[in-house]
Symmetry: C2
Subunit: 316 residues, 2 copies
């Protein structure tokens, strides 16, 4: 379901040499950078980085940072990192903002499998000499802190077993809480932050059967007033329930209107290109009657545009 097009065989030494050549002297051959890095898997990119370090005693990432600029630079930087390291960077940037972008934290915590999230937490500690939960806790307060810290700390059970009776009783708890606008009820937080994804899906389905509407719609309806916490809950539920639809909407919002939210657009394309971007593209087309490639082509330009389209699987 990936969109990335990468050769089965490649020479990481030749790749490293070609990148060196692309960066050498005045100006940079951005097309060469895109045609190499835009067609290599995470494992291949790491091999290239190692080969580059051995050949030129220089960190390829640092070199590219000094050669490239703007949204293109940021996209290449995000892309070249190993997935767990990249998510650690995304989480750190999001939490250190003056106004923390907690939706990115929720996305990382809720879309990933339990083991993937654990890998991000390990990468975070290696990079920042602190735990992810520690930084999240130190930069948030109140109910949002309770929710976020629990979401990034949990190692959810990953098995398929479902307890139908529990799904019923916990769907009831969620229904009561939403009816009473007690979104921050500690039972709501407990359920969303500790149950396995399979169990939560069963609970959400049960909620829908009983209430005649999805829990995310209910949250929207009840939380008409701007409610930061209800919005965070919705993001968590949407990421757990159907991450493809969640990502489609992130991209849609990033593109729509004047200007582009390049950070969001880059984040989705870079983090999903090796995973499920093909499915997200299909969901996008269904919802917008225009292909994601067309939308990106129209909304971005230059090397940034070329790089994103490459990751989206466009033939060179």
């Amino acid at each position: 379901m990936a969109t990335l097009v990468a050769p089965v065989q490649h020479s990481h030494i030749e790749d490293a040499k070609a990148l060196y050549k692309a960066c050498k002297g005045w100006g940079t051959d951005e097309k060469a950078v895109i045609s190499i890095l835009g067609h290599r898997t995470a494992a291949q990119r790491q091999q290239i980085r190692l080969a580059y370090q051995n050949l030129y005693q220089e960190d390829l990432v640092k070199r590219l940072e000094s050669e490239l600029s703007g949204a293109f630079e940021k996209a290449v930087y995000r892309w070249i990192l190993e997935p767990a390291d990249r998510d650690a960077v995304l989480a750190n940037v999001a939490i250190k903002k003056a106004c923390p972008d907690y939706h990115v934290i929720i996305e990382i915590a809720c879309v990933h499998s339990p083991e993937e999230l654990l890998a991000v937490r390990r990468a975070y500690q290696l990079s920042y000499k602190l735990s992810l939960e520690e930084d999240v806790a130190a930069h948030t307060t109140g109910d949002l802190r309770k929710l976020l810290v629990a979401l990034v700390s949990v190692l959810r059970y990953d098995g398929p077993e479902i307890n139908a009776r529990l799904a019923k009783s916990e769907a009831d708890i969620l229904e009561d809480a939403i009816k009473n606008k007690a979104f921050n009820h500690e039972e709501v937080i407990r359920i969303l932050t500790t149950r396995s994804k399979a169990q939560l899906m069963a609970t959400f389905n049960r909620y829908r059967d009983d209430c005649g509407t999805s829990i995310t719609k209910s949250l929207l309806r009840e939380g008409d007033q701007v409610n930061e916490f209800a919005a965070a809950l919705r993001t968590a539920i949407r990421c757990i329930n159907n991450s493809n639809k969640y990502y489609e909407k992130i991209i849609r919002n990033a593109i729509k209107g004047a200007g582009t939210d390049e950070d969001a657009l880059t984040r989705v394309i870079v983090t999903r290109a090796e995973k499920d971007l093909k499915v997200i593209k299909e969901v996008y087309y269904k919802r917008n009657s225009v292909t994601l490639e067309q939308a990106v082509a129209k909304d971005t330009s230059g090397d940034y545009n070329a790089f994103l389209l490459t990751l989206l699987g466009k033939a060179d």
Copy 2:
């Protein structure tokens, strides 16, 4: 620092055969069980279990359960398991009690290294098809839930780096909270459940320097009324700060007065015999002017007594 005396070389097949012989027919040769299992490391015990299974198509643990009884059976059962599996059992038993024994949960969460705690969480999921945090959350409420779930979920940063300014500011936060008897203040929970152990030690030392008394003593003084939450906080701090002293007191309380808290005594001896029981013995002797062996010999009897003394390092 372990008290366990185990041979470097042993034949797990011979051991399995000897255990089979000890269990065969009417009656059980408990002395043989003790002289074998009481002198084998965790890795050796697993090899014996495997060899037994292969030789006799029977689980050694199940067989011993049906042969032994009382406190001795429980101690052997706890001992034979791998450390992470054993802790998962201890945690499950503690949380499923009508009156959950949350100090055991705190002990497991706070004495272990971050990676050891993670191993317990994985073992818990394998055994119970649920996450540890999920069960802890479902069996507790209120402030205690907040504290316990965070303690079992955190993957603390394990490095030696300390931020002295942070230690000062967080010691101040703790001091204010204790002064105002706001033990359950969310900042107190945040600090104790997310900071690295090295950072917390620095914070506790700073607290002592500023207040002229240790934080655990302060909690005791301010929490004169029975306060379940303050007691839980104290346990967490004591386990993080000096687990040897913590364990000494658990043993002291288990032994003192009429009767013995066999569960607690067994737990400490079985879980620490391969780790730091030697140090705990020294702390015990310093505090009680009697050796731990003497105290255990006096307070217990029969096979249970012989088994504990073997794990304490007594020569056969």
